[in-house]
Symmetry: C2
Subunit: 555 residues, 2 copies
């Protein structure tokens, strides 16, 4: 490979070997751009962590070269890290109307709205930089205003699919701009990055229109109040719910902060037409009979503070579940959320609701392309090189196999890790190095301070709690003048464990006396001796392993 | 309802509004029997808990009346609590061969094997007690030797389905004894308890035979080593794997402690025929070419210490995953296990294996009846009264609706909670009271000592860790003579938080000085003041809420 400035570098910083924090850097000559900048939700073992963002240290080290951040769509795993990143560098952010509308709410919460340079684009708009141009191309996804991105360089086009499905009967707006895909494929795409979420699924993803037909069927002849929970960001779904309500002469109320926000933005942008006064406030619901109401709410994932979950628990301030309500959960549980969702479903049933969820009816379709749609895009784009993105390893691997099944050569398909530096020349794609990459934990106000040690301790504490031993010693002699006192939390129920604690104190006293006699004075040794002795004793008696915290006070 | 000793009482103690710890007591005159005695695996918020068993206090209070424990089959959620229960009362346990074979291993681990009275039964055997008789009836499930149970009383038959599916082409043994179901229905079943796990699914569960056909297809012309992970208890699945191996001239090795145990028991009982020497030891694998080996292993649920998970992680002592291995995961993730399973799948792909799992091929069928099979059983048994069991509320509710859809009256179908006392007379079924019921947590050696307070503390510790403040005061004056010292675990990374800790100490000192000046000496007040002051400060600075443990040492 010629080692000169003609190489394009693709540096994924998130979204590979995971679902979440999608972030890709493209570097050419002296310019860097980012495609997306997302967050990931914490895994079960990331105790106390609020969100996970990508390690952007390479980008921050080169922030002068960063010319723009280009967003494919407004989901959290594509824009959620921006408030943290924009605190470190103020770079223009390009996106479609709804995408920036959603981002604005976030920036406002973080106090960054006034200073961030937001640039709205439309489909086929091209942003010209010094050495590259970035084009937005309309696609379809489970959120309106989704785009693919084409980066035009002297060496050819880099194509990034964003998240997409092929829906020939879209609810709002035009279908994916497949004509432009074909034009780019004809022009010459040197490398495609394409999402891999549904690569395991054969066939096609069903059209969003089908969900509308199910809503229509459910609402027809229904004499009860209807509550529909769905993703706030799925504007097309909301449009269909409103449309079905309209056809069945029902008013619509909206519940849940993010739902109110995004529906508000969508109405402002003219995506949802409510000029006939169909939307009413929650407080007005009681003015109508039950069979003339539809409530659209957050909580399709069983999120603890969401509107539907609070209704199911009985602690929503304004809304309760009435016997006979039809509650439609118009989403499938994201992997990991199955239990919170079924918990809410059970609570709703117990309150006498009739609950319709994905196991019982077709009230959700995926926003991600299945195998036949992926093959279509590969065949239109005809890239020279291919990097599967947006998936765990099993998705990336199977997407690579799909590409090879269509005729791509093994050496032209690269499965990467976050942090890999992939260099592309006219005749070769090659991994040439790595940069820092990984996860940064956000906990409260702290970004990156919680790391493995803190998490390891939280894990230990969560399993068997903590036992604190406090001993007060005289400064020079090392004699015990107070204690040992033992305080536990999360270990045993103290009232029933007095003997255990009493015996533990005796042991600590005995082992410290031994140390005194052997003239051992160094605190580190004393503490370790107490720890080891107690650990063995407690495990023998309880088969539990609490964290042991020896504290020596010297007076 | 006549209040006399002719009432039969059904008292569910586990398995309602949950999947797990199935335990039902039946009380008639002076006799009590238990049908099953299972455990439940801990939910995510049951930190540090090993298993959950039912609250059996009602049974222990009446242990002299308990005449026998009757087991429907050998799954953990039907027999897993027995080692804990049999420590409190030594009651004969009745079950089929494989069921008791599996139970024996457990009792041995708990040192109860010698003293427990195990009684083996076969299909259609009847155990005569003073006032009732208990009959075992052959069914099909995802474990061999599964039974339904009929309790014969002067008032009629109580029928308990156990866990079952209707499989007309069973792999081993005879199909479910539907003729006996019909005979009982004709004789007169006064009340049926029937499992509800798959009531959401329309149609039929596929036959186990179909999985065998998939195995055959995968093994034919395969030139690689094959590893199959499945539930150790699914003897029929293991028979099919061995049969496919046999037909393709491969040897079979078994890996994983529970797999080795149960396969051993099944061979002893003659359920698996390995007289042709098809089974080899793990150590002999290397004597054969890769295309002549099948390894059957534990780990189909991504269990951390299972054989397949250790192979995927690379720390199995005897087996590693080789590039090209075909790994078949012949199970679906139990709800809650999706992430551990996909983690293993990703690791296997990374090691170069070809992984076949349920999304990609038909390599698993459920062991639970779907709607049409449930309707069949209702129609054969024709009970007067019906109690849906073995399900969360949504399952019980939908099963009740299914029964009413077949013509049962509303008042004859009862959805219960654990602990309800259901009395049955010849003309009425009625809830007449409750007994203690609920969950007992087992953690290490402790049974029932970990309760809400300990769990609440573990939860708090897991989120933001702990901050311990130690202050040494002079006995009478209340003057601070050492400290405050602050030690944290799981809260912040200390090296980066020195300012925070320094400031926190200052605040504690200041607030204690105030207390001294106001002559406040009571420890409870001092500790609370320290706690509140610190909590506010730490939250303001970090938006985190660690547990705060103030410790006062007096000298």
């Amino acid at each position: 490979m010629r080692k000169d400035k003609e190489q394009i570098k693709i540096i994924p910083l998130g979204g590979l070997n995971e679902i979440g924090k999608n972030t890709t850097a493209i570097e050419f000559k002296n310019e860097i751009i980012l495609i997306d900048c997302g967050l990931k939700f914490p895994e079960d073992d990331m105790l106390g962590i609020d969100v996970v963002i990508p390690d952007m240290s390479y980008i921050f080290k080169n922030k002068d070269k960063v010319k723009g951040i280009f967003l494919t769509h407004g989901h959290e795993d594509h824009i959620g890290a921006l408030p943290y990143v924009l605190k470190e560098m103020n770079v223009p952010v390009y996106g479609t109307k709804l995408t920036l509308g959603i981002l604005e709410s976030k920036l406002k919460e973080h106090g960054l709205l006034a200073t961030t340079k937001l640039r709205t684009v439309e489909s086929r708009d091209v942003v010209k930089l010094e050495n590259m141009s970035v084009e937005f191309i309309r696609t379809m996804h489970s959120i309106a205003d989704a785009s693919a991105i084409a980066v035009h360089t002297p060496m050819g086009v880099l194509f990034h699919s964003g998240d997409f499905k092929i829906d020939y009967t879209p609810i709002h707006g035009l279908p994916a701009d497949l004509a432009r895909f074909a034009e780019l494929g004809k022009k010459g795409v040197i490398c495609m990055m394409c999402e891999s979420t549904n690569v395991e699924r054969a066939g096609y993803t069903m059209s969003e229109k089908m969900v509308g037909e199910t809503f229509q069927r459910l609402l027809t002849d229904c004499e009860e109040r209807i509550i529909v929970a769905t993703f706030a960001s799925n504007v097309h779904r909301i449009i269909q719910i409103i449309e079905a309500a309209r056809r069945n002469d029902r008013k619509v109320a909206v519940s849940g902060r993010s739902m109110e926000n995004i529906v508000g933005v969508a109405i402002e942008l003219g995506y949802i037409d409510v000029s006939d006064g169909i939307i009413i406030a929650i407080d007005e619901i009681n003015k109508y009979p039950k069979n003339r109401i539809v409530i659209i709410t957050t909580g399709s994932q069983g999120e603890p503070m969401s509107a539907l979950t609070r209704m199911a628990r009985g602690d929503h301030k304004k809304l309760s579940i009435n016997k006979g309500d039809m509650v439609i959960i118009s989403a499938t549980p994201i992997p990991g959320n199955e239990k919170p969702v079924t918990k809410v479903i059970n609570q709703l049933f117990k309150k006498g609701a009739e609950v319709i969820y994905e196991k019982l009816a077709d009230i959700h379709v995926s926003g991600h392309a299945c195998q036949e749609e992926l093959k279509l895009v590969h065949s239109l784009i005809k890239p020279k090189f291919f990097i599967p993105v947006h998936g765990e390893f099993r998705h990336l691997k199977q997407h690579a196999e799909l590409a090879k099944g269509l005729g791509m050569n093994n050496e032209d398909v690269v499965i990467c890790n976050n942090g890999d530096v992939i260099e592309i020349s006219s005749d070769e794609i090659k991994k040439t190095g790595t940069v820092n990459a990984g996860q940064i934990f956000v906990d409260g106000l702290g970004v990156g301070d919680v790391g493995n040690i803190v998490l390891r301790d939280r894990k230990h504490l969560s399993q068997d709690g903590i036992l604190t031993v406090v001993v007060t010693m005289e400064k020079d002699s090392g004699k015990i003048i107070a204690g040992p006192d033992i305080i536990t939390r999360g270990f045993v129920y103290v009232r029933e464990s007095e003997d255990l604690i009493f015996e533990a104190k005796k042991r600590v006293k005995a082992v410290l006396k031994q140390c005194e006699q052997q003239n051992v004075k160094e605190w580190a040794v004393l503490k370790n001796t107490m720890k080891e002795n107690l650990r063995g004793y407690l495990y023998e008696k309880t088969k539990r392993n609490p964290m042991i915290l020896p504290i020596i006070v010297e007076v």
